[in-house]
Every structure is written in C-alpha cells, then in structure tokens.
C-alpha cells in the first residue's frame, strides 16, 4: 500500500495527534495530490502513510477504502494549506455546479460532514463515539441534506475555509449533545439548535481569511475586525425567514461572557440567551481541542480545566458542569 520512498511532508510514521482528518468524500481520483495522505492503523498502531504526494490516487483506491468503511484519511499540518488549495481548485466547480442536482451535492456534503464528525468524536471513548456519531452526526448531516438554506451556506463555508467547515459541524453536534444533557427532548427544538450551531460562525465568511487564520492578533483594528463576525452573521441571517429569534441569538451572542467582557455588546449572564451560553461552552471546547501551529492538541483533561477556570466568568457554570459530565462519561 505505501508508495516507494520519495520526499514527503515528513516521517512516514507520524504522531496521530499531529494529523488532521479529512473526509474521503472530498477526494477525487487524480494524477497527483500535493499532500501526503495517512490512514489510521489498527488500535494501538501509529498512523501510516497511505499515499505520498505526487503519487496517483485512483478510483480503485477510493473504492477499496470505501469498501473497508474508511471514511476519513489524514493529512499533516503542513499539508493542510495544500489541501485547502486542492478544495478550492477542484471542488469548487463541483459544489457550485448548478447542473449537478442539489441532492447529489448535498449528498456529497453529507458524506463529508459525517466523516468529519466521526473524527471529532475520537476525543471520546471509541464505543461511545460511534453511538454519538450515529445519533448526532446523522441528525446534523441529514439536516444539511434537507434544508434549502443550509447547503448554500455550507457550500460557501467549505469554499471559504475548510477548517471553519469542520468547526461548525463539530459545534453543531456538541450543541445538540449539551442541550440533550440539559433536558431538551423535543426533536424540533434539537434540530433548530443543530441548525444554529452550523451557522453560528457564518459571519466569519465576511472576514478576510488571513485574519481568521492568524493565532496571534495583535493590532486593535485587526481584533475589532475579527470581533465583528457575530454581528455580521446576525445581520445576514436576520434578513431571512428560516431562522427564529432563539437561533439568531446563538449567532449574535455566542462570544458574550457572563462577566460582561465579551462582544459584540458586552452584556452579562442574565442577558445572554441560553442558546448562546450553550454554544460558548462547546465552541471553546472544540477550538481548544484543535492542533495549533506551536502547540500539540490538548488532552481532554486540559480542555476541561480551561472550561472550569472560565466557569462563572466567561461561561455559564451549570452548562460547563453539564458538559464536563457529558465529556467525562464517555471516557
């Protein structure tokens, strides 16, 4: 399976924690890809190089992977930028092709979203993650399939920033999980929460990507530009009929803090809509679990500590407590 030894992004066997999942559904057979592809080994084995960059990826390869029920491959941090470029160069036409039935394009997006959720849930226990992925991921992914609003928004997000796409899928699923933990059982309400989660960062599409990508925003005007995204998203979505006020509040207020130091308004805990308080917890959870340039991905216990330190100040205390219980019981 591995190709001959030629120059690649890095060592053939890499630390799993430094790999980034990508959906198999986003790959098309082609003469060469500009990034290495890795596949997870059996439990306890390190990931292995599946296909080196500049080595052909054939339809037979994709078929065999699908038959093996492999829905995700992995790329290195170095390959991430090239993967994003690949998406922009080759998939933009496919997703934007009006001649391709929306159902087909949604199906494509369904597969991509489902696979990404699977990978996100790996932070929890494997057995539980499968259960979660099937329940919640299917719900989120089916939602993407069934709505006239979301596919267009998701297409634009996928083209804008691949990482934004995975982030909103994760947050959407986590929002549903936490809402269930808080006692929400109404399926329509849970669906609304999932939709809002998918759209909570839609305003980031209007922010220059160079700012969104940066991890060290220093200048006040850059920070202010980035902090406009909740309002931009709210204003854009408010003009449409598909979202209710509760959902809009998740988009608008998810960066507000209980102690009044958040944005865009600076309201305090009682004034923050409960859906926004819910989203704030899981939004931070997902962002903290991602690999960064100069930092390994945090362990679950470290992420839990971040949330606990912010409980009462940044986050709703009860929601943090519920989320930690949810995350903890899957270990």
């Amino acid at each position: 399976m591995p190709s001959d030894t030629i120059q690649s992004d890095g060592p053939q066997l890499v630390d799993q924690q430094r790999l980034i999942p990508i959906a198999l559904a986003t790959l098309r057979p082609m003469a060469c890809l500009s990034f290495d592809l890795f596949v997870l080994g059996e439990s306890g084995h390190a990931p292995a190089l599946y296909r080196q960059r500049d080595y052909p990826l054939l339809q037979d390869d994709l078929d065999r992977l699908a038959e093996s029920e492999i829905r995700s491959l992995f790329i290195t941090e170095l390959g991430q930028l090239r993967y994003q470029q690949y998406l922009e160069e080759h998939l933009d036409e496919f997703l934007a092709d009006e001649a391709t039935p929306l159902e087909v394009r949604c199906g494509y997006l369904h597969d991509a979203g489902q696979a990404m959720l699977d990978s996100a849930m790996r932070i929890m226990d494997v057995g539980r993650s499968i259960e979660v992925a099937e329940q919640v991921g299917g719900q989120v992914a089916n939602l993407v399939n069934g709505s006239g609003l979301l596919p267009s928004e998701m297409f634009r997000m996928l083209r804008h920033d691949y990482r934004l796409f995975t982030h909103v899928i994760n947050v959407s699923a986590y929002c549903v999980l936490l809402a269930q933990r808080l006692g929400v059982t109404d399926q329509q309400k849970l669906k609304e929460i999932a939709v809002a989660g998918l759209l909570h960062d839609v305003g980031l599409r209007k922010i220059p990507r160079v700012l969104v990508d940066r991890e060290d925003i220093c200048k006040p005007e850059q920070r202010e530009a980035l902090q406009r995204h909740p309002q931009l998203g709210f204003q854009e979505l408010r003009r449409r009929d598909e979202l209710n006020w509760d959902q809009l509040m998740m988009v608008y207020q998810h960066h507000e803090r209980c102690d009044g130091t958040g944005y865009p308004v600076g309201i305090t805990d009682k004034e923050i809509h409960w859906l926004a308080r819910l989203c704030a917890v899981v939004d931070t959870f997902d962002l903290a679990s991602r690999p960064r340039k100069n930092r390994k991905p945090l362990h679950l216990c470290d992420i839990v500590e971040i949330l606990q330190q912010g409980a009462g100040r940044q986050f709703d205390e009860e929601m943090v407590r519920c989320w930690i219980i949810e995350a903890d019981r899957t270990r």
């Binding site: 709210f234 204003q235 408010r238 865009p264 600076g266 309201i267």
Partner: protein, 147 residues
Amino acid sequence: MLDHRSGSDPVNDASRVMLDLVRLPDEWVDYYVKRGVLPGTYDERRRFPRYYYRGRAMLHSGDKQYVIYTKDLSRCGIGFYHYKQLFPGDAAVLWLPPDTRLAVGVTRCNRVSENCYECGAEFVAKADQDAAVQHLAGVISDDGDAD
C-alpha cells in the same frame, strides 16, 4: 449650545411625562457640556464628521415610546443612549426636539452599564438624511451663538 433639554417644544414636553429609564453613568458629569466635532478615529467606515449632540429625545419602536439621550449626530447617522439593548436591523423613529422626525435603522449596540446602552443608527432614507442635515445645521449654529 442650546440645551435642548429645556424649552417649550413638543418632543421635550412629551418626554418629560414619559418614564425615563436610562441611567447615564454618574461619572459623566460633562455629558451636556461637550460640543463641536468629535475627535476622529481610525474607523474608515465613518464617511462624515460627527458632532456632539446632547440631550433628551424620543424613540418610537413598534407601539412603544421611550426617552433616550442623544450622543452625537452626523449627516448619515446618530448615536444615542437607551435603557435596554437594541439589535442591528431594528427599525425605529427618533423625535429630536423641537420637532424633527427621523426614521432610523440600528447598526450597533454596546452595553455601557445597567440600563444604559450606547446605540448607533443610520438614517434609512434621503429625506431623513436631509432632515438630519437641516437639524444639524441648527445645532452647529446654536453652538456658534453660545460661544
């Protein structure tokens, strides 16, 4: 500057009988004193200069009326303080003393303190812009007379 808190005009007369829920911070002792052009900032979204414009006015939103405190005024928008949060896109009508009526759309809102939110709004139609320009000319003229 003509202090448009006092005087006999419909807006001020009406606002005096309405419940005033705005709580300007106690430390703003110079709220009514400020006059002239606001200092410029790096924000390139501002197309025209803003002038200090301090006093009470009325806000109509839906079927409710509120007392607000104005902050600044320009050719394209107005800043004011309201006792509760407004949301971008909210439509309202402002009545400025003595009798200027302006239709506005809220563009931003920031919490200053409990019962005090700083709001920005833009005029929605050319007629409102023209009315604002005329009103502003009066304010500037009054400021000049007061100097």
